[in-house]
Symmetry: C2
Subunit: 285 residues, 2 copies
Amino acid sequence: MSRQRATVFVPGHVTAFFSAHPDDRPAAAGSRGAGVTLTDGVTVDVSAASGDGGTRLLDGEPSAIGAVEDVLDALDVPAVDVAVTADLPIGAGFGVSGAAALGTAVAANRAFDRGRSENDLVRIAHESEVRRGTGLGDVVAQARGGVPIRLEPGAPGFGALDGIPADARIEYVTFGELSTETVLGGDTTALSAAGVTALERVRADPRLPTMMAVAREFARSADLLVPEVDTAIDAVEAVGGEAAMAMLGRTVFALGTGLSDAGYDPEVCRIDAAGTRIVDERGRE
Amino acid sequence: MSRQRATVFVPGHVTAFFSAHPDDRPAAAGSRGAGVTLTDGVTVDVSAASGDGGTRLLDGEPSAIGAVEDVLDALDVPAVDVAVTADLPIGAGFGVSGAAALGTAVAANRAFDRGRSENDLVRIAHESEVRRGTGLGDVVAQARGGVPIRLEPGAPGFGALDGIPADARIEYVTFGELSTETVLGGDTTALSAAGVTALERVRADPRLPTMMAVAREFARSADLLVPEVDTAIDAVEAVGGEAAMAMLGRTVFALGTGLSDAGYDPEVCRIDAAGTRIVDERGRE
């Protein structure tokens, strides 16, 4: 029985710090680190193609995402229409590409009854994202929800996750794009050393304020801070708040009302408790 | 900074089939199998004790749960009041004891800022439940949400999980209690052999209808079916539905409108997408 259509929500994911762990096998490659998943996210609708070949829409405009195409190939689905709708800015460190890949995997599996398990779908999306060079850790984090700690890199079967048990309001402001491919394509040795140190500190004290403090140090020691974000972090700290830079984007995020208190006009959401989930009302049993 | 109070929701969990895997180390002991988590669940409120020593309430009545006490000891929290409220019948196969233990762990950690990670809290609740003999696999399933497949037994660090990606309406009817301790305390060899076979079939085809069919066979071959449940399963099958017995309870659960269609007057909920989550509004940042 095939529904021919399914809709899936994937939370946004902001990485607070990370280390990069390349591997020839895309399922084993990935990143370690920590971050927050957000109730602002990406909705992916997959359905049987209305015309020849199928359409690809990103926020209503024709636009193809490489990892999405790879996921569809891996699941061997028929010609489909894929519509990706993002609550979040693209290219700004929210894991939109990973969300699009994972949402497509879960939605296509449901719409065309592909009979894959959750781990299988997460692996397919993770591999597609890694091969395209657009991300290393967003997919496994977005599948879990909450505040994922990526203990070991890679897809299910390779990686290992923990989490900071937390619920909080999150504010964010984006100043523009930053290319994940450029940073991840360069020398990541110093960055990764800082990321491993940061992870050890969060594992020793898995609390949100610790993650934010560690993330600020990471961004500084890895030389990733951009001026607008640096200024915003300082402004939030000056009013007693906790803020950090999104990896990788010209984005600052803060706990609670940190950015509002500092005079910014942020977007507001919360930590997402659920992770990736089917949200279609069609074909419900 | 300690909030002194926190409220946590834990979904109910119905095991469809399982195999038991004892181990001298409670974190390594557990079960393999599959089941569904439910939007009907258990809410646990933990707060600083209002009087000497602290109170324990279960649905408003004074009542202590062994695993809850063990969790509080493990987290070394001060004198607390614990109020457990269940949307579900107790002793009927919904994992209420596991939910109470896990909810207490997450709520006490938050209320008294214990700084434990999610894996740590799941392990503490799992160990408490195993030591008390009240369950083997509910806690890890309830932490995850969805339709968990327990690939390997035990707490995080020992066990391994997958899931059937699904959203569905679930109906259930309970005919009374069945002692988990009695079944798990007896010879579980034949039961576990049937459970391992069932797990292989669901791993080969991770779909909900397959899980339900496999669960019916498991209950029959493990000789666990009680007459009222057997009758109800047959009635649902006769109208083209999918039903199975909850392990371990005198409970039948069905996909969609199976029990309604068969003339029963069931409780109605859905598969829970989120797993265990903090729901208190107090102290929100």
